[in-house]
Amino acid sequence: MASSLPTLSRALPSSSTKPSSSSVPFRSPFLKINGSTSFTHSSISIASRGTSFIIPRATASAGSDSDETLAKTTFHGLCYVLKDNIDTDQIIPADKACIFPSNQQERDEIGSNALSGLPDFHTTRFVEPGEIKSKYSIIIAGENFGCGSSREHAPVCLGAAGAKAVVAETYARIFFRNSVATGEVFPLESEVRVCDECTTGDTVTIEMRDSGGLLTNHTTGKKYKLKAIGDAGPVIDAGGIFAYARKMGMIPSLA
């Protein structure tokens, strides 16, 4: 049954304004549901390693142009769980840093290698061999996520693989800033150690508010508070600092 189902990344409509081809969406899967996009209750089947999950689609109320730019931002999907000190070599091994993701082909390639540096005791791969996208749209980790190198390839590969958010206890400085500057993933901070209570493959929902966020693990039924993302939220939402500046009319668009 499962094998006949479409993969999540291709099943969902795009809420992005970026151009995408039908076969290889530029930034996908589109688990993130923006406030401006109205969905009704529905469910999506996800093919996953021979089993299928029925995922209740996150409900996003119709967007109104309120002051709270993040008021309706919700991510929903499967989580991939890691522990402490996941460094940039584990996120994207240095030999893959030759990739210069300036075009779709290399962006796909770097995405397909996301988290490929994890030691083999991580028996579940973030991206299956031969795939471009991960079926996990949310990464949950412990302390000091993204330590090590300053390579921007780290947040880029996660975004290229379809990850929308990382929920960690703390971040290394450069990874956090690179995530915001590029707008590739939301680097969210949890108030407690969520990574010890979640398992890879759990279905989770992140609801973000300006005052903070909430992570719900539907598999365990537990809920966790997230720290407010603050000013970084709208920046990432727009697709990075340059995109945000243009969106706000602060700098002119390039011809």
């Binding site: 210069f100 993701p101 290394a172 450069i174 956090f176 603050g230 920046v235 500046a245």
Partner: protein
């Protein structure tokens, strides 16, 4: 062990609106932001003196610069951008080679003055402009100067803090911004709303590429006071591994690590660089050492650019202070798979190793090779495991082949290494410190155990995911090569 050498615990800094003393880092950032006073947490626009990039991140940074500022955009100042190919040089990897080609095109188009190019990969000596590892080359070519702000698209840019300057690593997007504007916003974007608008207003104004700043948040400073006579068997690498073991790999996140004390005053510039190099391994934003006669002597021999040293005030506020009696410390290593997984070298004497690697921005400088050669010479023995030597730069390589090792009767490092049975020193680059393409010299392609003078030992760092890396000083690395086990260098130096 640690508690016996640390005498003071962290104390909280006082926040005050009145003008109080500033730390070195605060003074540098105040000057660079044209303010009389800054305090930790301030978000400021900082004038950038030097922006460095290399072959791995340069194409991305220039690509973003062009994408955002236009195909015909010009960098803010072609003499303040230093481009140093060093990461993936001696490889047949097409993309790695392509990245150097991309940088060459950008540098030519932008008239970049300091581009240390390599075109003949068959013989690095045929490339007089080629340097090698960027952080060592920056110092050797006179780009590191007290009181300045240096940014680089590499996390080990913090190395230059050894010269009493503010130096930190940034990503490609930030670098793309600096390329166009010369400015950086020193801050954590999620913290203070009003500054975002300052940022964006600024983008609007600087689209004309006249200014040169980036916005940063002023970091609080942690102070590390290292006093006492440095034992002859200890090196700066032992000191920084000791400290990281103490505060953990996230112990200095977002913070400055300022090193001072009588031990620091006695360190050479290269040893000070080792100390500051690994600040990022504790999560630090930057490391800094007060400049002195040692600093001025090094800098003035390499540049005629005027500089202005600054020092922490007596009443400056520090978020924490640690004091070490260096005379009581012993050689240490960082065990797999984290730089803070500290152990005494002698505690690991039963760990069998497969190879030794001496190289990188951390442990591939002239004095690192001199130290290894000194130990090999003192022992009179041959290495028991393959020992790979990767000089950081062309200058280091020449020193290895030319400078006499003290006490050896005039032998060079290269001669001593050959007698000891080491691999021949290879072409200078970042080499296998970060694994690199599959054909990188000395890359850890098997799940072996390696004692290395490099800076990181995370899983897969030097190539193989199941490889085990013990970070150590050049003395400890050389001693370990002679025994085939992790070895305290005192076995050969006393």
């Amino acid at each position: 062990m640690a508690s016996s050498v640390i005498s003071s615990s962290p104390f909280v800094c006082k926040s005050s609106k009145v003008k109080t003393g500033m730390t070195m880092t605060e003074k540098i950032l105040a000057k660079a932001s044209e303010k009389s006073q800054v305090v930790p947490g301030d978000n400021i626009w900082v004038n950038v003196d030097v922006l460095m990039t290399h072959d791995v991140c340069g194409p991305g940074a220039f690509g973003i610069f062009k994408r955002e500022f236009g195909e015909k955009a010009k960098v803010w100042d072609p003499e303040k951008i230093v481009v140093i190919p060093d990461h993936y040089i001696f490889t047949t990897d097409k993309r790695a080679n392509r990245n150097v080609d991309i940088m060459r095109e950008h540098c030519k188009e932008q008239n970049i003055k300091y581009f240390y190019d390599i075109t003949d990969l068959g013989d690095f000596r045929a490339n007089p402009d080629y340097k090698g590892v960027c952080h060592v080359a920056l110092a050797q070519e006179g780009h590191c100067r007290p009181g300045e702000v240096l940014l680089g698209t590499d996390s080990h840019t913090c190395t230059a803090g050894a010269f009493g300057q503010f130096a930190t690593g940034i990503g490609n997007t930030d670098a793309g911004f600096v390329l166009g504007t010369g400015k950086i916003l020193l801050k954590r974007l999620d913290r203070i709303a009003s500054n975002l608008f300052n940022t964006l207003n600024f983008y609007n104004r600087t689209i004309v590429f006249e200014a040169r700043i980036l916005n940063l948040q002023v970091p609080p400073t942690m102070r590390f006071i290292l006093d006492g006579e440095m034992p002859s068997y200890l090196q700066a690498k032992d000191l920084i591994l000791q400290i990281i073991g103490e505060i953990s790999v996230a112990g200095a996140t977002y913070k400055t690590m300022e090193f001072s004390g009588t031990t620091i005053e006695g360190l050479t510039m290269e040893e000070r660089m080792t100390l500051c190099n690994m600040v990022v391994e504790a999560g630090g934003k930057n490391g800094v050492i007060p400049p002195d006669a040692t600093t001025f002597n090094y800098v003035e021999n390499r540049t005629s650019v005027p500089f202005e040293p600054v020092y922490s005030d007596g009443n400056a506020s520090f978020v924490a202070a640690y004091r070490f009696d260096v005379s009581k410390l012993e050689p240490v290593v960082a065990k797999p798979h984290s730089p803070d997984n500290r152990a005494l070298a002698r505690e690991c004497k039963d760990v069998k190793i497969d190879r030794v690697y001496i190289g990188s921005c951390t442990g591939g400088k002239t004095e690192d090779f001199m130290a290894a050669a000194k130990l090999f010479h003192a022992s009179g023995k041959k290495v028991k495991v393959p020992t790979f030597l990767v000089p950081a730069t062309q200058k280091v390589w020449m020193d290895v082949y030319a400078l006499p090792v003290p006490g050896s009767g005039g032998k060079t490092c290269a001669q001593i290494f050959e007698e000891a049975g080491c691999d021949t020193p290879t072409s200078p680059s970042c080499g296998a410190c970060l694994g690199g393409p599959a054909d990188t010299y000395a890359r850890l392609n098997e799940p072996q155990v390696c004692v290395s003078t490099t800076n990181r030992n995370f899983p897969g760092r030097m190539g193989h995911k199941e490889g085990q890396i013990y970070l150590a000083s050049p003395y400890t690395a050389a001693a370990s090569a002679l025994t085939g086990r992790v070895t305290d260098p005192r076995e050969f130096l006393q």
